[in-house]
Symmetry: C2
Subunit: 117 residues, 2 copies
C-alpha cells in the first residue's frame, strides 16, 4: 500500500516530464538529428520565444537534451537528445504513439457517445 503510493508518485513525476505542451514535441523534433534553436521553433509551428526557452530549460534541467554553443557569427546553438532523452522517446512516447494508432477511432467514438449521452 505504501508501495502503491510511491509508485503513483513516481508515475506523476514521470508524466510531469511530458505534461507541458511543447516538451514532448521538442523531443520528437530532435529524434533524427541535433537542431538549432530556430529549427526547433519552426518544427513546432507557432511557439513564442519565451515558451520555447522555458521548454528547453526544463528539458535541459531534466537531462533529456543537451545544448551546444558554437563560437561563430552569426551565433549558433544546437540542441540534441541525450541517451536518456532517447529512451523516453523510444519507450513511453512511442507507446503512446502506438496506442493512438490502435485506438484513435475507438477514442473518438467513445467521446462522441459520451457527448451524446
Amino acid at each position: 500500500m505504501t508501495d502503491e503510493l510511491i509508485v503513483d508518485c513516481q508515475l506523476r513525476a514521470g508524466l510531469e516530464l511530458l505534461a507541458h505542451t511543447w516538451d514532448p514535441l521538442v523531443i520528437v523534433a530532435l529524434r533524427d538529428e541535433p537542431l538549432r534553436r530556430r529549427a526547433v521553433k519552426d518544427a513546432l509551428g507557432g511557439v513564442s520565444d519565451k515558451v520555447l526557452t522555458e521548454a528547453l530549460h526544463r528539458l535541459l534541467a531534466n537531462g533529456l537534451i543537451t545544448r551546444r554553443s558554437f563560437a561563430e557569427a552569426p551565433p549558433r546553438v544546437e540542441y540534441a537528445l541525450t541517451p536518456l532523452g532517447r529512451t523516453l522517446l523510444d519507450g513511453p512516447l512511442k507507446a503512446m504513439g502506438r496506442w493512438l494508432n490502435q485506438h484513435a477511432d475507438e477514442l473518438l467514438t467513445a467521446q462522441e457517445a459520451a457527448q451524446a449521452g
Copy 2:
C-alpha cells in the same frame, strides 16, 4: 512532413488524456476493481471534491471510465475502467512505469548534474 505534423498533433492529443494531475492516477486506482467515489478520493490522497469531479468528468467524456449509480441509501456510485481505459493503462501508462523503474536513478543523477552545472 504534413504527416509528421499530424503525428505530433495526435501525440499531444493523447498526452492531454494524461496531462491533468489526477486523471492518470484515477486510472491506476481503478486498475483492480470498480471503486466508489469516496474510495477513489481516498486512494489519491488529498484531492478536493471539485477537482476530483472534474477529473472524473473528463475521464467519462473520453470514454476511459464508466459511472454506475445504485438506487440505495446512502447513495452509492461506482466508477470502473472501460476496455479502452484499460488499454491506456496497460500500454502508455505501464510503459512510463517501466521507464521510471529503469531510469529513475539516471534521471535523478542528470537533474543534479544539470543543477550543479
